[in-house]
Symmetry: none
DNA sequence: ATAAATTATTGGTCTTGCCAGTTTTGGGGT
DNA sequence: ACCCCAAAACTGGCAAGACCAATAATTTAT
C-alpha cells in the first residue's frame, strides 16, 4: 500500500464540503445562524473538534462567520459585496459617524486625483438620482454609486472597500426598519442637494470644502434618521 | 494551568502567526520536517487541538503540507506572495493610510470620553509592551490592545470593529510576511515611544494633539514598513 | 414598563485516550 | 557481514468529556 488515500481525504475537508453542500442546497438562509457546533457535529456524525476544524476552513475562505458566544452565521452574499455583516450593538448613529470619519478622509484623497471623466460619471449619477426622485422612487443604488465612485477615485483600495461595506451595512435589520420612516421624497431631495454641493466642491478641486460638505451630508443624514424615529 | 485570555484574537490565529514567524526567522529549512504536533504544542504552550487548528489554517494558505503518519513539512515556497499581493490590490501602504484615517477620527472621540480607568489600562499595556521589548520579543498583542482599547473608548462600535479588522488584516495574509521585515527591536522601540506620546496627549485630554500623534505614529509605521522592504 | 440580575446557550480551549498510517529498529536467516 | 522482514516506536487523525468565557434569553426587582 502506498501513501494514497486509504481513508479518503481528511475529515475536516469532507465535513467542510458537506456544509458547503447544505448551504448550496438552500438549507440555510444568508446571514442566518447555523445550528450550534454541538448540534452540527451530532447531525453530521463527527466529533466537535473535527467539526471545528471544518468551520475554520469555512471561516478562512469567507463562507462563514463565527461569533463567540453567539453562533455561526452565513456571510451575506458570496459576491464581493458585504464581507462582514453588522452585528447589533452597532446603532445606525454609530454607523453614520463611522461613515463620516472614513468618507471625509476619502474625499480629500479623491479631490486631489479627480478627473474630468470621473466628474462626468458623477454628473450622470446625480441626474439619474434626480430622475428617480421625480418619479417618486428611492434612488438607493444611485446614492451608493455616488459614494463608491468617489471612494474609488481615492486610489486606495482598502478605503474604497470600507466605504462600500459601511454603506451596505444599512441593510441590517434595524437600519432597514428605521429607513422606512425617513425615506420620503422630501428627505431624498435634501440628500440630492447635499450631493450636488459635494459635486460642486469636487468640480472646483476644493478638497477642504468637499470634506466639509461630505461631513455635513452624513451628519444631516444621521439627523434625519434620528428625527424620524418615533420613540 | 491556563485559564485567562480575554479580548484577544482566536488562539489558532495567534499560533499560526507565531509559526509563520518561526518559519520566516529561518528556524526551519524549506521542505524540511517541523517538530511533531505534540512537541510543537508543548513548545508553543497550547493544546494539541488548538495547534491542529493553526496547522489547518497554514495548510489552507499553502504554507505547510501535512502528511499523515509522517510529519509536517514546509512547502516549497517560491514567490507566490507577490501574486497574492497584486491580486488583492490592497497594498500595505493603502492599509496604513486607511488606518490613519480611521484611527485619527477615533482618537478624537476617545479623547473626549477618556476615563482614568481607561488611562490606567493603557498605562499597563504600554508597560507590558516595554517589558516585552526588553526581553527581545515582539509585542504585537500589546500593540493591538493599545489601539483597540482606544477604539473601544470611542464609544462607537462600528469604528472599534473597523480598527480591529484593519489591524488584523485577515484579508491579506501577505502583510504578516512583510511585517517580519520591519519588526525589529529598534523599530518596536520607536513605536513604543510614539505610543507614549499618544498616551500623554490622551492623559492631558488634548484631542487635537492626540490626533496628530496618532496620525504621525501610523505614518511612521508606514515609512518603516516601506524602508525595510528588500525589493 | 424599564432596568438589573440570573440563567441558559454557544463558541473557545484543554485533557485524555485510542486508532491508523509511517518510519525506524532489531533480530533471525543466509 | 549482509539482507529481509516483522515488531516496536514514532507520527498524524479523530473522538469524548469537561471547563471557561462571552453572549443571548429569561426572570426578577424597582
Amino acid at each position: 500500500m502506498n501513501g494514497f488515500r486509504t481513508t479518503e481525504r481528511r475529515l475536516y475537508q469532507q465535513v467542510a464540503d458537506q456544509i458547503r453542500g447544505l448551504i448550496q442546497a438552500g438549507q440555510f438562509r444568508l446571514g442566518q445562524r447555523l445550528p450550534s457546533e454541538r448540534e452540527l457535529a451530532l447531525q453530521l456524525g463527527v466529533s466537535r473538534p473535527s467539526l471545528r476544524e471544518a468551520l475554520i476552513a469555512l471561516e478562512i475562505d469567507g463562507t462563514v462567520e463565527i461569533r463567540m458566544g453567539s453562533g455561526i452565521y452565513l456571510v451575506a452574499n458570496t459576491e464581493r459585496r458585504a464581507a462582514t455583516s453588522a452585528s447589533m450593538g452597532e446603532s445606525p448613529v454609530e454607523l453614520m459617524q463611522a461613515r463620516a470619519a472614513v468618507e471625509s478622509a476619502v474625499i480629500v484623497l479623491a479631490s486631489s486625483r479627480m478627473t474630468t471623466e470621473c466628474l462626468k460619471t458623477l454628473r450622470q449619477i446625480l441626474d439619474g438620482m434626480a430622475a428617480e426622485i421625480a418619479e417618486g422612487r428611492k434612488p438607493v443604488e444611485h446614492d451608493r454609486q455616488f459614494h463608491l465612485t468617489i471612494a474609488s477615485q481615492s486610489g486606495n483600495g482598502v478605503l474604497a472597500r470600507l466605504v462600500g461595506e459601511l454603506f451596505d451595512d444599512r441593510h441590517s435589520p434595524l437600519s432597514t426598519q428605521l429607513r422606512e420612516h425617513f425615506e420620503t421624497p422630501d428627505t431624498w431631495s435634501m440628500a440630492l442637494f447635499e450631493h450636488e454641493q459635494i459635486y460642486t466642491a469636487l468640480e472646483g478641486r476644493d478638497s477642504l470644502l468637499a470634506q466639509a460638505m461630505m461631513h455635513a451630508h452624513l451628519e444631516e443624514s444621521k439627523r434625519r434618521w434620528l428625527d424620524s424615529e418615533p420613540r
